[in-house]
Amino acid sequence: MTDNTTAYVILSAILFTIGTIGVLTRRNAIVVFMCVELMLNAANLALVAFSRMHGNLDGQVTAFFVMVVAAAEVVVGLAIIMTIFRTRNTASVDEPRMLKW
């Protein structure tokens, strides 16, 4: 692994960690969802960096597919969050607690 790639992979690891911590600690469903998107983009950065390191295009092509999947996920996710928000007037992930144990 060249030094150049290492830097990008470390940056992607940092972004991934920020995303993960955000999902685990934030309470607003929209922010949680944005943190998930950050995790996907961290993976994209790693894929592109590794793709350049190995000298093939597999990683870059995968990054495009990930972007499409992320867009589809936004559609589904915002629809679900919207219905919850309209019913309860809150997008907090702590508020709905009818399902327990």
Partner: protein
């Protein structure tokens, strides 16, 4: 110079047919008048699934089995085609349950208008006009297409795309219940957020594995891993990908969504997805771990063993204290994931190895769970399904046939002899013992005993307890649901009494190839 990859349409047409039917369903939704949609959608879905099922049989019996197509993106091999067939079989049952309209005064189990807020005049109007969402059929077809691709994915990219194609429709279907809509929406939110989180983790693991091997193909990753030995990059990648798949299968500590979603989702959706998702996820998991990470077995086997032990113990113990039938079955599904993971600890052999054991267990469990949730949808009170356990008391006296059929499914899930579940459990335990994993098998036998306790307690409740004041009644369903329940019960008993044909079919199918 770019060369387009060759695609073997002869082996892939069942998948393409299902996805084509899904697109046709969207067109019907857009152009057909409202009154005609229900019949058109149900016909399309049933015909498409039946034709695809026939297709998997033809592909499975044909000479082209075992081809790698699309530059290795899809591997159509014996176990892959078997699990595709199994997914299609339970999905046929799923469509029949989706189409059930006799249980709730002539409307389906899905929300009349998902956009109308619960408890508003808009919702009442939608209900009075008898509106229903027929979009559920195309959504289901897209999920089935994703599951079929997941079973035969030969590279990491296809694995990820198939995972998302099967997951996204499931999130939506979970939130579409007609009754108890707040519960259903909450379940959908939890499922979606945790599902998206786990697929993010899965994707990062995928990127690290690609960084290690320099290839997306599972077979090439396996070769590189065998040559170069393990590196931190690979191990981290395996760990993160395992988290993603363990989430989908509902293993401890990633199980928390399972009981919530099983309880909140419309019961036909629960019945279908508890069977189909598990089949697809385990088929993909076996291929990933045996083909790509086979060389690292010494490292992942102990870790998966610990997860299996925790999953079985927690699933069975929590199921004991539940007071809601759907939730109890949800925790029982968690316990079954543990038993299946026990099977994963074994090794692939030419004869009856762990691949065959796990696939047989999935067959047995698939029919039992489909049938048992179908029965849950029949037992109702004035406000919809009677979930609370105490309202099931005395059901065996008022409706002996329904209770007896439910008992058959419960006994199979408990793993008693002469039911399919017994052969399934015996198979996965033998596979794990063959790989020297006896401590896990000891725990598995202990958890089976805990599990027998709550299954038998349910049977005692139905047959030997007096009915309570607000006891639930059994509503007579349409022929479709009756046939699904009857066929599931027959399959559960037949697979237990004469498992030979299916076992030899599985041995002929062989192992997963790269």
């Amino acid at each position: 110079m770019f060369e387009s990859p060759g695609i073997s349409y002869a082996t892939l047409w069942p998948v393409l047919l299902v996805l084509g039917v899904a697109c046709a369903g969207v067109v019907v939704e857009a152009f057909a008048p409202r009154a005609a949609r229900f019949n058109a959608q149900v016909f399309l879905a049933l015909a498409g699934l039946a034709a695809a099922l026939a297709g998997t049989v033809i592909v499975g019996a044909g000479p082209s089995l075992g081809v790698s197509t699309g530059e290795g993106a899809l591997i159509v091999d014996g176990p892959g085609v078997f699990s595709q067939g199994l997914v299609l079989l339970v999905s046929l049952g799923g469509v029949a349950l989706f189409a059930e309209r006799r249980l709730d005064n002539g409307v389906s189990a899905f929300a009349g208008q998902a956009a109308a807020l619960p408890g508003t005049p808009a919702e009442r109007t939608a209900s009075q006009r008898g509106l229903e969402h027929t979009e559920v059929y195309p959504l289901m077809m897209f999920a089935v297409g994703g599951m079929m691709l997941f079973c035969v994915s030969g590279d990491l990219l296809m694995l990820f795309v198939a995972l998302e194609v099967l997951s996204l429709p499931l999130y939506l279907l979970t939130g579409l219940a007609r009754r108890r809509r707040l519960l259903s929406q909450e379940a959908a939110l939890k499922y979606f957020l945790l599902g998206a989180f786990s697929s993010g983790i899965f994707l990062y693991g995928l990127a690290l594995v690609y960084g290690f091997a320099g290839s997306m193909s599972l077979a090439e990753i396996g070769e590189v891993a065998a040559e170069e030995g393990s590196s931190p990059l690979l191990l981290l990648g395996i760990g993160l990908m395992a988290v993603g798949l363990l989430f989908k299968t509902g293993a401890v500590p990633f199980h928390s969504w399972t009981p919530d979603v099983y309880q909140g989702a419309p019961t036909p959706v629960t019945a279908w997805m508890s069977a189909a998702t598990k089949i697809a996820a385990f088929a993909a998991m076996l291929r990933l771990f045996y083909v790509a990470f086979g060389a690292e077995g010494d490292i992942w086997r102990p870790a998966i063993g610990v997860v299996a032990v925790l999953t079985m113990l927690l699933g069975a113990s929590f199921a004991v204290v539940q007071t809601d039938v759907k939730r109890m079955l949800g925790y029982s599904a968690v316990a079954h994931t543990g038993f299946l993971l026990t099977g994963l600890l074994g090794v692939q052999t030419d004869a009856f190895g762990s691949t065959q054991a796990v696939l047989f267990y999935l067959t047995a469990y698939g029919f039992a769970t489909l049938g048992s949730f179908a029965i849950v949808s029949l037992v109702r009170g004035p406000n919809g399904e009677a979930g609370a356990l105490d309202r099931w008391a005395g059901l065996g006296r008022t409706n002996p046939w329904v209770a007896a059929t439910f008992a058959v499914f419960l006994l199979s899930m408990a793993g008693l002899p002469l039911t399919a579940g017994f052969i399934g459990k015996w198979g996965v335990f033998a596979a794990a013992l063959g790989a020297g994993q006896w401590p896990v098998v000891v725990v598995a036998i202990g958890s089976s005993i805990i599990a027998i306790f709550f299954y038998v307690r349910m049977i005692m409740l139905m047959f030997f307890t007096d009915p309570s004041e607000d006891a639930a009644a059994v509503v007579t369903p349409s022929y479709a649901t009756t046939i699904v329940i009857a066929l599931s019960a027959v399959a559960t008993v037949l697979l237990g009494v004469i498992p030979g044909p299916v076992l030899s079919l599985l041995v002929d199918a062989g192992g997963f190839i790269g």
